[in-house]
């Protein structure tokens, strides 16, 4: 870097190191030394709630008359819901222990771990209390509020069937997502780019955008050949309108100077659309996808409850008919995990695509 030496001091690469800009990790030695005893206690309290929950399950007498059946797994293994529950809690304890060990070497992670300790401790206590009230004493109204162990029963009873419902929901979502995002981004580009399209389509989009997708259900069920395609249609329009209007906004808000720069560099219309307007609209497109996903989860469960031969919504509905509320809870539990995973995945793609925004906007 010979020609760098002619620069003023504040412009030298040493002064602003590109690597240090991406993520500033304070030096490990620079932080005050954490006491081992304190950290061990922190870790202990993190898992203590769950240990208490196991203790409640194993030691608290089963006062109420609850029938707990064993399930045969394979040839020799026979476990009941309490075994599975303890197994699950042990898994959680192991996971948190691993996190504790993993976080120890990094000051940031250590802080995060410390901050989360009280909440994790409380989860365990709540599980214990719930078990006492729900299963051990049967003080909660039954069958509406089964204990935590009972909620795991469907996973012993019919794991394959549950997996089938999960896959059905995922399939519906995926089709709707792909069609919706594609249609949404395409319409958004057209509306954002061509004033004529904006004039004619935008009002329609605005009005139809506020209508909940499920309101179209009667039409969808009559007009589409199968319930599956009808559901895809409803999920698609959920994504479509939201993403389209946000994409259009993103494209319209592109600063004029970016277009002028591109033109003076020799760019023609395709470059202006695909290399200037769309990259500029990307953050808005992802905002649209996030908002649309919220609507989509609602719509997905609604359509499954009202007219699908499968899916988690269907599973809830079918279980409700038999008053099997523990299955309803199980389905809700799965949804919570499944939908968060989907949001996480979208968030991951977003953070990669919008890498250029890191440090530019408040996250």
């Amino acid at each position: 870097m010979s020609n760098v030496s002619s620069l003023p001091e504040n412009l030298k690469p040493e002064a602003i190191n590109p690597n240090s800009l991406s993520r500033d990790i304070p030096g490990r030695g620079a932080f005050p030394k954490i006491s081992y005893v304190r950290y061990a206690l922190l870790s202990l309290f993190t898992v203590l709630g769950f240990i208490a929950a196991i203790a409640v399950n194993r030691l608290f007498p089963q006062i109420a008359n609850v029938q707990i059946e064993p399930y045969q797994i394979g040839k020799s293994l026979s476990i009941d819901i309490n075994d599975l529950y303890v197994l699950a809690l042990s898994g959680v304890i192991l996971l948190y222990t691993a996190i504790a060990v993993f976080s120890f070497s990094d000051a940031d992670r250590r802080k995060k771990f410390e901050r989360r300790m009280p909440f994790r401790f409380a989860i365990g206590l709540v599980l214990g209390l719930w078990e006492v009230l729900g299963t051990k004493l049967l003080l909660l109204p039954q069958p509406f509020f089964p204990g935590p162990a009972r909620i795991l029963e469907p996973f012993l009873m019919e794991p394959g069937y549950i997996l089938q419902q999960i896959l059905y929901s995922l399939r519906l979502f995926s089709y709707g997502f792909v069609f919706g995002v594609t249609a949404g981004v395409l319409t958004g580009i057209l509306i954002g780019w061509f004033p004529k399209v904006y004039y004619w389509v935008n009002p329609v989009l605005k009005i139809s955008g506020v209508i909940p997708a499920v309101a179209w259900m009667p039409f969808a069920l009559t007009l589409f050949p199968t319930p599956f395609s009808a559901a895809i249609f409803l999920i698609t329009i959920c994504q479509w309108f939201t993403i389209a209007s946000l994409t259009a906004q993103g494209i319209q808000s592109t600063p004029k100077v970016h277009f002028e720069v591109a033109k003076t560099l020799g760019a023609k219309t395709p470059y202006l659309v695909f290399r200037v307007a769309i990259p500029h609209a990307m953050p808005q497109i992802f905002t649209g996808i996030s908002i649309a996903n919220g609507f989509t989860f609602t719509t997905l469960v609604m359509v499954e409850m009202m007219g699908q031969p499968g899916g988690l919504g269907y599973y809830i509905n079918a279980s409700k008919v038999w008053s099997a509320y523990y299955k309803v809870f199980a389905a809700i539990f799965i949804m919570a995990i499944l939908f968060s995973l989907i949001l996480r995945a979208v968030g991951f793609v977003e953070s990669r695509v919008l890498r250029w925004q890191k440090g530019l906007v408040k996250s």
Binding site: M1, P255, E260, L265, G266, P279
Partner: protein
């Protein structure tokens, strides 16, 4: 450059013939941004246009770039009438013109990509990164580098297309004086190596004298050329030199900035 070269038509890269441009301002008043401007820009020279804000100097630059059209008159670059923006007239904007979603490297490459000639000229990008002294910052995004670095990238992005004339619209206007001096030197260096004709719009008198072969002084409302001053000092120029200061005084007087009491006809 001698007087003879001035009259040689081959040495004129850009010819501006009696160009006028008016626009309507926010209060529905007609403003004469440019009136009857005629100017010949010589091949390879560094020409500055100086004047107070509102004298139409940016309008003139936008007309040359093809981002705006004149009401009357015509602009001719290398014998061809200017109608649209084109890469042979590179343009460097005041600030914030880098694409924020592209890295330094890709911003520079966007000049080639916009023309669809990136594949054959990949090596040029690395050469320009080196030329503007931003090695090690190729993968940085615009918000991660300083304003001065960003303007150097903007200059490289326009120069990589080998323009016949590089239009600079107050590119150092928003920078602190240290960074500004640094970019001025960088610009001179690029001018000497690339032999590109430079057309700089500025309101900084020192900057104009430091860089230019000729300085066009403009007066506002209507925007007209008042005088063209030749600067015949050798490079590198000394900002505190006697000749430098005398040219400076001369220009300031012509801009009616030197006298403490403003002349009545220019008091607004």
């Amino acid at each position: 450059m001698s007087e003879q070269v001035l009259h040689d038509t081959d040495s004129v890269v850009l010819k501006i013939n009696a160009v006028s441009r008016t626009y309507i301002d926010d209060e529905d008043k007609t403003v004469e941004a440019l009136r009857d401007i005629s100017l010949s820009v010589r091949r390879g020279e560094f020409l500055s246009v100086i004047g107070s804000s509102g004298c139409g100097k940016t309008t003139l630059l936008r007309l040359i770039a093809g981002l705006d059209v004149p009401e009357s008159g015509e602009l001719i670059l290398n014998g061809e009438k200017i109608k649209d923006p084109a890469p042979q007239r590179g343009y460097v904007f005041q600030q914030g013109s880098l694409f924020p979603w592209l890295t330094v490297e890709k911003n520079i490459a966007s000049g080639l990509k916009a023309r669809g000639v990136y594949k054959d000229n990949k090596a040029e990008v690395a050469r320009y990164v080196e030329l503007i002294g931003l090695k090690g910052f190729e993968k940085s995004f615009p918000h991660q580098i300083s304003g001065g670095m960003a303007q150097r990238v903007a200059i490289a992005r326009a120069l990589i297309n080998n323009p016949a004339v590089l239009l600079l619209d107050e590119p150092m206007g928003a920078l602190d004086s240290f960074t500004r001096a640094d970019i001025q030197d960088k610009l001179l260096e690029l001018w000497k190596t690339n032999k590109t004709t430079m057309l700089l719009v500025t309101h900084d008198v020192d900057e104009a004298i430091y860089l230019s072969d000729r300085i066009v002084i403009m007066t506002p409302r209507p925007g007209e050329i008042k005088e063209i001053i030749e600067v015949k000092l050798p490079h590198p120029r000394h900002r505190g030199g006697t000749e430098f200061l005398s040219i400076r005084r001369d220009i300031l007087e012509k801009l009616h900035l030197a006298s403490a009491a403003p002349q009545p006809e220019y008091a607004i």
